[in-house]
C-alpha cells in the first residue's frame, strides 16, 4: 500500500470516530443517527450549518465520487476526448453533471429518510428541512469541486490527505471550543463575500447562503477549467 493511502485511511478513520461521537450526542434516540438529516429540534433558532458540515464528514461519499469521476474524466477518458479537440470546459461539465446527480441522490435519500422515519418533525418543519437539504447539497458540491480544483495542483492522494486532515482539525476545534466555530477557513472566507453579495441576495439568511455557495461554485469551477487548460495531462 502506498504511504499516502495509509495516511489517508488513518485520517478517514479518525474523522469517522469524531463524526460518530458527534452524531451519538446529537442524534441520541434516533434510529438512524447518520441519516437524521437536518436536526431541526436542536436548531430552532437558525440554520443548522454546523450540523450540515458534520454530516458530510469524513466526506466519505465525496471521496468515492471524487476518486471515480476525477480520474475518469480528467485523465483516462479525458485523454480520449481532448485529443479530439473536445473543449475542456465541456469535459469538466460532464464530470460535474455526474457528481451533481449522485449528490442529489444522496441528499434526496436523506430527505426521504426524514420523511419516513421522522414524519412528524418533517411535516412540521418542511420549509427548514427543505432549505437545509438544499444547503447541504451545495456544501457537498462545493467540497467535491474544491477537491477537483486542488487536484489540478497536486496529486489526487495528496488532496485526499489534505482534506481529511483539514476535516479532522475542524472536528478537534469543534470538540475543543464547543461553540459555533464552523469548518476551518472555508465558511470564514465565504463570509467575506457576504458584503458584496448582500445587495444581490436580498431576503432571508437562506438565500444569502445559497447565493454565496452558488457564486463560490462558479468561481471554483471557472478556476478549475482554467487550470485544466494549462495542465499537462500525463
Amino acid at each position: 500500500m502506498k504511504k499516502n493511502s495509509q495516511w489517508n485511511i488513518l485520517f478517514l478513520i479518525l474523522s469517522m470516530v469524531f463524526q460518530s461521537y458527534f452524531f451519538y450526542l446529537r442524534g441520541m434516540g434516533y434510529a438512524f443517527v447518520y441519516a437524521i438529516g437536518v436536526n431541526v429540534e436542536k436548531n430552532q433558532g437558525g440554520f443548522p450549518y454546523m450540523e450540515m458540515c458534520f454530516m458530510c464528514l469524513p466526506i466519505f461519499f465525496i471521496l468515492l465520487l471524487f476518486s471515480e469521476y476525477y480520474t475518469f474524466y480528467m485523465e483516462n477518458y479525458g485523454r480520449v476526448l481532448v485529443i479530439r479537440n473536445c473543449k475542456r470546459w465541456k469535459i469538466c461539465m460532464k464530470m460535474y453533471q455526474h457528481i451533481v446527480i449522485k449528490l442529489l441522490i444522496i441528499v434526496g435519500t436523506q430527505w426521504l429518510i426524514n420523511f419516513i422515519f421522522f414524519r412528524k418533525i418533517f411535516m412540521g418543519n418542511i420549509e427548514i428541512v427543505t432549505k437545509g437539504s438544499i444547503l447541504y447539497f451545495f456544501l457537498l458540491l462545493l467540497l467535491a469541486l474544491i477537491q477537483i480544483l486542488l487536484c489540478t495542483f497536486v496529486q489526487e492522494n495528496t488532496v485526499q490527505i489534505i482534506l481529511n486532515l483539514y476535516v479532522f482539525l475542524s472536528c478537534i476545534m469543534m470538540w475543543f471550543f464547543r461553540t459555533d466555530i464552523t469548518l476551518l477557513f472555508f465558511p470564514g472566507k465565504a463570509s467575506l463575500m457576504k458584503v458584496y453579495l448582500k445587495e444581490f441576495c436580498v431576503g432571508s439568511h437562506f438565500y444569502e447562503k445559497v447565493g454565496i455557495d452558488f457564486m463560490m461554485l462558479i468561481v471554483i469551477g471557472a478556476i478549475t477549467i482554467i487550470r485544466y487548460k494549462k495542465k499537462d495531462i500525463y
Partner: protein, 208 residues
C-alpha cells in the same frame, strides 16, 4: 509527417526526455522499445499533444503543436489507463466520440468494430480486458486518423486478437497513416514495424 525537434521534457527537475530529434513519416510503422520508464510512453504523449515540451517543438505537417495547433488534427491513440464510458456498449461509445469531430459515419463505426472482432451488445463494464483492448484499438482507428499512437496495443489480446491488430495496422499503413507504437514484444517488430527506435533514459539510442 510529425517531427520532434530538440525536444526536452523536464518533470519535477527530472529530465524524462532529453533533446529528442526525429521525423516520423506517413505510410510507415515505427516501433519504440526500451526498458520500463525509459520514456516511450512520454514520447507518445508528447506526440499526441497531451504533454507540453519544456524545450523544443513538436511539428505536425509544418504546424507547431501548442503554438499553432493544440493537438494533431487527425490522431488516434491508445495510451495506458485509457477508459471509455462503462455504461454504454462499444457501438454507443464510438458514436458518442464520433459526435465530437464529426468526421466519421455509422459505417466507419460498424466497420472498425468488425475489424477488431467486437460484435458484442454488452456494456463496456462487462467486458474482459481483451475486449476492452479491442475496443481501444477500434476507438483509435475508426476516424481514419493520419497519426496513430499506440502504447502496448497487444496487451491482454489473445492470439486471434493479435493477428487482427497486425492486419489492421498493415491496412492502416497502406491507407497512408503514420503509426508509432511502443512495445516490448519482439514479434511486433518482426511482423509489422518498418523502423525500430530504442529509447533509453529519455534519449533515442538506436534507430534502425
Amino acid at each position: 509527417m510529425i517531427q520532434l525537434e530538440n525536444m526536452t521534457k523536464v518533470i519535477k527537475k527530472q529530465t524524462v526526455l532529453d533533446d529528442i530529434n526525429i521525423k516520423f513519416e506517413n505510410g510507415k510503422i515505427y516501433g519504440l522499445y526500451g526498458p520500463n520508464g525509459s520514456g516511450k510512453t512520454m514520447i507518445l504523449r508528447t506526440l499526441a499533444g497531451l504533454v507540453i515540451p519544456t524545450k523544443g517543438n513538436v511539428i505536425v505537417d509544418g504546424k507547431v503543436l501548442h503554438r499553432e495547433i493544440s493537438f494533431p488534427p487527425s490522431v488516434g491513440i491508445i495510451i495506458e489507463n485509457m477508459e471509455l464510458l462503462p455504461h454504454l456498449t462499444a457501438y454507443e461509445n464510438l458514436k458518442e466520440l464520433a459526435r465530437i469531430k464529426q468526421v466519421s459515419d455509422e459505417s466507419d463505426i460498424v466497420n472498425s468494430l468488425q475489424r477488431v472482432g467486437l460484435t458484442s451488445e454488452k456494456k463496456v463494464k462487462n467486458y474482459s480486458l481483451g475486449m476492452k483492448q479491442r475496443l481501444n484499438v477500434a476507438q483509435a482507428i475508426f476516424e481514419k486518423p493520419e497519426l496513430i499512437l499506440l502504447d502496448e496495443p497487444m496487451n491482454a489480446l489473445d492470439e486471434e486478437g493479435i493477428e487482427r491488430v497486425y492486419k489492421i495496422l498493415k491496412e492502416e499503413k497502406k491507407r497512408g497513416a503514420c503509426i508509432i507504437m511502443a512495445t516490448h514484444n519482439k514479434r511486433d517488430f518482426d511482423e509489422i514495424c518498418d523502423e525500430t527506435i530504442k529509447v533509453n533514459n529519455g534519449r533515442l539510442e538506436d534507430v534502425k
